[in-house]
Amino acid sequence: MNIGRFRPGRLLGAGVQRIIVVVFAIAGVAVVLFPAPAQRLFRTVGDPLADIVALPMAHMASVDRSIRDGWMHYVALQGVREQNRELWSRIQRLEGDLNQWRERVLASERLAALQEFQQHAPISTMAAKVIGRSASNWYQGVILNKGDEDGVRVEMGVMTPAGVVGHIVRTGRSTSVALLIIDPNMAVGGLVQRTRDEGVVQGTAQGHVRMKYLPPLSSVAPGDAVITSGLVGMFPRGVLIGYVSRVEESEGELFQVATIVPAVPVRQLEEMLIVLASQPSDVEMSLGVAGGAATSRKPAP
């Protein structure tokens, strides 16, 4: 391929080419054996490159969004689509509010005897825009336009007012990568709101979300809301993850597994909130006991 006047093949003899390949192979092995220096080197080289690439990516994302929006408006009726979008966002907002209220009601009921009520600690969040999505099929992630300079750190949670979206796995100077909750590599502590059973919520290869390690005697049922347990620092307790759609109870298995429909359509999101600091409510944390209410279920559609 004549990609210019520079021809390494002419400048470099076959021996030098072999040396380059050998050096590259050694570097590959070194990366595996010495991950920490490799990561530092990666940041040193990758950050400036990320800044350069992020610029056209942000513009392309907005062009892509405009084209997609224009196309969708043309195909679908514009008024209906706008109305649908408004209603959908309102439902998301209301579901988020509703869930927060449910949690507050549950907490106040359980603490009535102690005559103490403590509201959820406010969550410090930062809005971020999606400027790109996972380039490969192997990881379900999004690229956000906030990075180290904005205070974003690895392991911070990502959410919307309606619920959990994922968490930050990589940060650059001005960008970051968030792994979505539907990815098999993402896991977060979950709590069935009605039964107070805890488990691990994890994505699946099929793009669903499952809650594992539920006690075999748990009465978890389809429609139950699943919230974050707050035991891991990414999210405070009480952020909605989704609703149980199916419960698998295999004979001889030690635990039950529930399939969850995420509360947030994570693949379609264009803006998200990064959880900068979450302070789990002391009241909630001190209560590991049952105390649910029938309200913590998704209303029938």
């Binding site: 391929m1 004549n2 990609i3 210019g4 006047r5 520079f6 021809r7 390494p8 093949g9 470099l12 080419q17 380059i20 390949v21 590259f24 590959g28 990366v31 991950p35 490799a38 990561q39 990666f42 080289v45 990758g46 950050d47 490159l49 990320a50 350069i52 690439v53 056209p56 990516m57 392309m60 994302a61 062009v63 892509d64 084209i67 997609r68 400027i131 790109g132 999505r133 996972s134 380039a135 490969s136 099929n137 192997w138 990881y139 379900q140 992630g141 690229i143 796995v169 990589r170 650059g172 960008t175 990568v177 792994l179 990815d183 098999p184 590599n185 699946t204 290869a205 099929q206």
Partner: protein, 173 residues
């Protein structure tokens, strides 16, 4: 000048992949344009340039990906290197034939990604059927298209030493 254009092309390739290609992906399967590019550069321009382009594209992908560090860099550089090696030992490669090496590489690198993830056996088997094979086929098909376009309009005469010998009549036709 042409080097500059090519560098700009490389810098825009990943943003294009992460925005437009994501929106256009059929059944949520996205072709790996970086892999295809690294392979075709290796095929036409030789191992060294294939490795250089593979390293650059893989690094960008790693920066913006949730995958383990260096994985894209190593696999894309490997694609460029292997393509250069293949080209050195081939007299010529018609566009349709590009399907097989690209699909094979896509399959193998996909296996590497699958093994590097923390998925269980069931999930891996499921991914193999629903992601690995379709993506390998799609990569191969897109590779044919790109190969044809490049061969037809951009680089009619390969600069690679193996094919250079072909054009001089020193290797079988």
């Amino acid at each position: 000048m042409r080097v500059g254009v090519f560098i700009v092309f490389l810098l825009l390739l990943f943003p294009f992949q992460a925005t437009f290609v994501y929106s256009l992906s059929p059944w949520e399967i996205r072709p790996d344009l970086c892999l295809i590019t690294a392979f075709l550069v290796g095929l036409w321009a030789g191992r060294v340039r294939g490795v250089i382009v593979g390293v650059a594209l893989g690094l960008v992908q790693d920066v913006f990906s949730a995958s383990p560090l260096w994985l894209n860099l190593l696999t894309k550089a490997g694609a460029g290197f292997l393509a250069g090696t293949v080209a050195k030992n081939l007299s010529n490669m018609e566009s349709p034939l590009a399907f097989f090496p690209i699909a094979a590489l896509s399959f193998v690198w996909g296996m590497v990604f699958l093994l590097s993830s923390r998925s269980g056996t069931d999930a891996m088997l499921y991914s193999a059927y629903t992601l690995l094979l379709p993506q390998a086929v799609l990569d191969g098909l897109v590779g044919i298209g790109v190969h044809w376009i490049v061969a037809r309009w951009i680089v009619p005469a390969p600069a690679h030493e193996g094919w250079a010998r072909v054009s001089q009549g020193s290797v079988w036709r």
